[in-house]
């Protein structure tokens, strides 16, 4: 049987301000992930780096260490490759006051 391979849309048309994150996603079966973030609208204000966070229980989160740019314009896309992440995975960002981005966040997972 071919190994499992999943495209999971974990945030769709969600507007991030302040400290924001995708909902916890369990992917312990996957050996690798690529996270894509697309801006669905023109972002406002300076954008911080997005970060990958991992968790043992989906409630307490650690910075995994990976950081990547948020897309700077409407329909721009950025991505981050991740491996060895345990089970729970999410994308988080802390936007300064006045900044805003509306995102489509997709996780591509492979066993």
């Amino acid at each position: 049987m071919l190994p499992e391979n999943l495209t999971a849309v974990v945030a769709r048309n969600e507007t991030w301000t302040g400290t924001s994150a995708t909902e916890p996603y369990e992917a312990g079966w996957a050996r690798e992930a690529v996270v894509f973030v697309r801006a669905l609208k023109e972002p406002k204000g300076p954008l911080p780096k997005a970060r990958i966070e991992i968790s043992a229980d989906g409630m307490h989160w650690c910075h995994e260490g990976s950081e990547f740019d948020l897309p700077a314009a409407k329909d721009a896309v950025t991505f981050q490759r991740i491996s060895h992440f345990g089970n729970f995975l999410r994308v988080a960002a802390s936007l300064p006051n006045g900044s805003e981005i509306t995102v489509l966040v997709t996780i591509h997972l492979k066993a």
Binding site: L6, A8, V10, Y25, E26, G28, W29, G58, M59, N87
Partner: protein, 294 residues
């Protein structure tokens, strides 16, 4: 029972994956989430030109997961007979819902049977039993007659186990006859929307009170069996069972709306979860068997 029925039953009972189900003669799908997502996906709402057109009820939906039911205090719980189950998680906001759906069509308008092993629990953010934090676990079909077999309707049987409402432990099965008003989307005249999982218009299934097993801390779960029989010819439910209880379906009915020009022979099935507090609700499916008599 014919000789063929006896032989079929003997073969199925020899297979551990099938012997815990009682399928009709033809198995349409046997989804064991140890094999992956098995065609279960997000219920995305309709839209045109912009995602902003999507009704908020659908906009909140996210992707189901393959879960080992991991818990902070004792680790992975696992499924009925393997490591994985399909997990449907709501957002942590009172009234939030999430849905996993499988989209098929049928080849004969006859009897179909949905069977599943399911459980549900809240996110264990408190050291308390939290038995009233889940509002409901439920399932539905979205069905429409064939293009030449009309006149007929789009028919949506819904059942939910109302576990709790506003902190009161209700523990009863409910059904629905009404959806929200049908609303056009965009300007092309091709797309409409309605939110059939709106919190309004649920009715108690007569005799539908049931006390399900729930364990003594918020991280333990027990798996439950459900079976729902539906006749696609009559568009009527014929049997509903959860664990040892069989419920009379005389008082049950479905959402019935006019047939749509693009949904002929539709056979969609979906499971959903709702939270009653600002805490995530998790519904889990270990396995789902859909069978038919054709």
């Amino acid at each position: 029972m014919t000789q063929l029925d006896d032989m079929r039953r003997a073969i199925r009972e020899n297979d551990p994956a099938l012997s815990r189900f009682d399928p009709l003669p033809r198995i349409i799908c046997l989804d064991d989430f140890d094999r992956g997502m098995c065609g279960w996906t997000q219920l995305v709402g309709n839209y045109e030109e912009t995602l902003d057109a999507m009704l908020p009820g659908y906009a909140q939906h996210s992707h189901a997961m393959l879960s080992t039911l991991p818990n902070w205090d004792f680790g992975s719980h696992g499924g009925v007979d393997g490591s994985y189950a399909l997990k449907i998680a709501t957002r942590p906001k009172k009234g939030a819902q999430n849905v996993a759906i499988k989209r098929l069509t049928f080849r004969k308008a006859g009897p179909i049977r949905l069977e599943a092993y399911f459980t549900f629990k809240p996110e264990a953010t408190e050291l308390a039993l939290s038995e009233t934090d889940i509002r409901s676990f439920g399932f539905l079909y979205d069905l429409q007659i064939g293009d030449t077999s009309g006149p007929g309707d789009r028919v949506m049987p819904h059942l939910r186990f109302l576990n709790a409402q506003d902190g009161q432990h209700a523990q009863k099965w409910q059904f629905k006859r009404k959806t929200t008003p049908i609303k056009p989307i965009g300007t092309a005249g091709k797309t409409i929307t309605h939110y059939h999982l709106a919190p309004t218009d649920w009715e108690d299934l007569p005799g539908g009170e049931q006390r399900l097993c729930y364990n003594e801390i918020p991280t333990k779960v027990n798996w439950h069996y459900l079976r729902f029989d539906f006749d696609l010819a009559a568009m009527q439910a014929t049997h509903f069972q959860v664990n040892d209880r069989v419920f009379a379906m005389d008082g049950f009915d479905c959402i019935r709306i006019p047939a749509m020009k693009n949904l002929w022979c539709m056979l969609n099935l979906a499971f959903f979860a709702e939270t009653d507090t600002d805490k995530r609700a998790f519904a889990y499916l270990d396995s789902v068997c859909l069978s038919g008599d054709f």
